[in-house]
């Protein structure tokens, strides 16, 4: 019939119009500041440095090995290695970054730094309310702004954080077992050959 | 200076402005506009004579003006059609250059 298409279209828009007042599921818009959309776990925005324990300076996992700086495609990570060492989570003295800057205006949140980091020191955050008044300094985040605790990591990426922690714990357990096994083997060797004159004092090899 | 004289003087002025335009302008379309003006001046005369004339109820002045507006519109349409055809043929609307009858 002539004009049927137009009438069907008009009926459809009328149904939409009236439906939006009646059934709530038609209107999916979230009034942002008042209602918050649920945080999607796998979403990512900009990287952040993870630190164990409570003190961001002491517990920082990053050992400034520069891998992420080399791998970063837009080259937005800038690290300065420290001169002295500090003990890391397993007690082994490691370097730490004296300065660790990420230029957030350049970062394209590609997560390559997270994939290449051997120490799980850098992870992706999904905070998005990041407006700043200055385009240059305010968007160059230094170490203090980047460092966030491990339990924050658990808060935003629960499953991934749990997996990372499990791996870390397993790695520590393995090294501890290996250390114990090598200590036991050394003790057994000392036991089996007592007459060997005492070896020269160990020059502080690490306990690993 | 009775009102009728004023209107007649005004339409005479309009007519002469239109005539001046027709005689002096170079662009064919503006010559056509001049002709339109002359027709309008005549219309003004008709309405003035109808208003101040002896027998306004006969409506002849108004009828003449209405028909003359209709004819002027038709004439403008055909005139512009001719100007377009001439332009397509000779690529110019400058009347000083259109002085040869050769097709």
């Amino acid at each position: 019939m002539l004009g049927a298409g137009i009438l069907k279209g008009l009926a459809e828009t009328a149904r939409n119009f009236l439906g939006s007042y009646v059934s709530k599921d038609r209107l999916t818009t979230v009034q942002f500041p008042e209602e918050r959309p649920p945080r999607i776990e796998a979403s990512r925005n900009f990287p952040f440095l993870v630190y164990d324990g409570t003190d961001p300076q002491e517990g920082l996992r990053c050992v400034s090995c520069f891998i992420c700086e080399k791998e970063c495609p837009p080259k937005c990570i800038f690290i300065e290695k420290s001169t002295d060492k500090k003990p890391d989570a397993t007690g082994k003295p490691q370097f730490y970054p004296a300065r660790f800057n990420i230029d957030v205006s350049v970062c394209m949140s590609c997560q390559i730094c997270v994939e290449v980091c051997p120490f799980d020191a850098i992870k992706m955050d999904n905070a998005f309310e990041l407006s700043a008044t200055d385009r240059f300094d305010a968007l160059l985040w230094n170490k203090q702004q980047l460092a966030k605790s491990n339990n924050y990591y658990h808060e935003i990426h629960p499953t991934e954080a749990a997996a990372v922690d499990a791996e870390l714990a397993a790695a520590r357990a393995k090294t501890a077992a290996a250390a114990a096994a090598s200590a036991a083997a050394a003790a057994a060797k000392k036991l089996a050959a007592p007459p060997i004159p005492p070896t020269p004092p160990t020059n502080g090899d690490d306990i690993l | 200076m009775s009102p009728l004289n004023a209107y007649l003087l005004l339409s005479a002025l309009l007519f002469s402005i239109g005539l001046a335009g027709v005689l002096t302008r170079r662009n064919a379309i503006l010559v056509l506009i001049g002709i339109e003006l002359m027709l309008n001046a005549a219309n003004l005369n008709f309405i003035a004579f109808w208003r101040y004339g002896p027998n306004p109820a006969a409506l002849t002045g108004i009828m003449f003006a209405i028909f003359s507006i209709a004819i002027a519109a038709a004439e403008a349409a055909v005139g512009l059609g001719i100007i377009l055809a001439v332009y397509r043929h000779t690529k110019t609307t400058d009347l000083d250059q259109l002085n040869s009858m050769k097709g």
């Binding site: 137009i6 008009l10 828009t13 009328a14 939409n16 119009f17 939006s20 038609r26 209107l27 009034q31 | -």
Partner: protein
């Protein structure tokens, strides 16, 4: 029934009451100002409300909220838009023709406002009771095309000229069906004066009103009039001149700031004016829909019908996609023109046939059958050959 009458004539009485205080010398001027001022206030306010209704309506049609941040439920959004357009910088392109560039929006808004002089808003509430009211309306309406062309040409940019040419071509080719669709009512009511037309429709049999829309030729006339009115005010399916996708914003591309807002004001005022005329001609102006509702003041009915028509405009804008230029022209000259001429013929037949069922049957069939044939004829796909330009060399 004294109370409703005074309420109905409240504006007319208050005007006369105010005039009492004015010295007789100034009487005519002040009475003119007193009757023009409300129109200059009410319709821009209606324009403000319509912009919000439009955005909220279109939003709801697309399952989203319209503007709801500025003011309660977003209803002070027009104030925000107004301030924005006032404070925005008014850039005039260097190569533009300054004088014509400035005059275009002024002429557009002036022509749009002039059209309200003949619309009867309420019982004896009309600015000027012209004997040739409808002719005045179309005479003023035809000035809008010139303003649109001036806007497009004076901003000296390809897009604006293209948009202006499209807009002028569309408005001219839809003015013909618009005038012919209104001729039907003039022929039936026997007078060009809008007040007489509305008075003719204001009578009732039992409870049913005598509106012209309830006759076959009246209904087709109304539908054709509304299609032509949508095209005349460059809205919804016919908003080709400002087709955002193709030529950005058509003839008002080089305008910014207040002149840009003037264009919108002009466009919306034009829409209100043509739908006001549609109400006057077909929907019985200020007449109440049923005889038992006449106690409600007359101006309420005019604005209620106007709001209803505005909602229909918005509804159509939310539904129909934009027409292509040749479809647009084809519809105007191949469908609308024959249908309006046929409608005039049917009104003649309606006038001379004795009233009764046969008259209804004859007239509706006289209209339906050619309408189907015409549209069936238009539908067959013409084979698309290489486009030959007939005029532009």
């Amino acid at each position: 029934m004294i109370v409703p009458d005074t309420v109905d004539q409240i504006f007319v009485l208050s005007k006369h009451w105010l005039l009492g205080y004015v010295p007789t010398a100034l009487q005519p001027i002040v009475s003119a100002i007193l009757s023009v001022a409300p129109v200059l206030v009410v319709f821009p306010l209606l324009f403000a409300i319509t912009t919000v209704l439009e955005r909220k309506g279109l939003g709801r049609i697309q399952n989203r909220y319209g503007p709801n941040r500025v003011g309660p439920y977003g209803f002070s959004q027009p104030i925000a838009d107004g301030i924005k357009s006032l404070t925005k910088e008014d850039i005039v392109p260097r190569s533009a023709d300054q004088v014509v560039h400035l005059l275009a929006p002024l002429l557009l808004v002036m022509a749009a406002f002039l059209a309200y002089a003949v619309l009867p808003i309420g019982r004896n509430m009309v600015l000027t009771n012209l004997n040739a009211g409808v002719l005045f309306f179309f005479a003023v309406g035809s000035m809008v095309e010139l303003a649109v062309f001036m806007a497009g040409w004076s901003s000296r940019s390809k897009y604006s000229l293209l948009g202006a040419m499209r807009a002028v071509a569309q408005m001219i080719s839809y003015e013909v069906p618009l005038v012919l669709a209104s001729i039907v009512v003039i022929m039936a009511s026997g007078s060009l004066s809008t007040v007489a037309i509305v008075n003719l429709q204001a009578s009732y049999t039992s409870i049913w009103p005598h509106w012209f829309i309830f006759t076959p030729w009246g209904f087709t006339g109304f539908v054709l009039f509304m299609i032509a009115a949508t095209a005349e005010s460059n809205r919804s399916p016919f908003d080709l001149p400002e087709g955002e996708s193709e030529i950005i914003a058509g003839y008002y591309i080089e305008y910014s700031g207040f002149k840009f807002a003037l264009f919108f004001l002009g466009e919306y005022l034009g829409m209100f004016a043509t739908s006001g005329l549609a109400i006057t001609l077909f929907l019985g102006g200020w007449a109440a829909p049923f005889s038992f509702l006449t106690w409600i003041p007359s101006y309420i009915w005019f604005f209620a019908k106007l709001l209803a028509l505005i909602c229909v405009f918005i509804w159509i804008r939310g539904t129909l996609p934009r027409l292509r230029m040749d479809q647009l022209m084809g519809l105007a000259w191949k469908f609308m023109l024959p249908m309006t001429l046929l409608n005039i013929f049917t009104a003649g037949v309606w006038h001379f046939m004795p009233s009764g069922f046969t008259r209804w049957l004859v007239c509706t069939s006289l209209l339906i059958v050619p309408c189907l044939l015409l549209s069936r004829g238009l539908k067959q796909r013409k084979k698309l050959q290489i486009r030959t330009y007939r005029f532009a060399e």
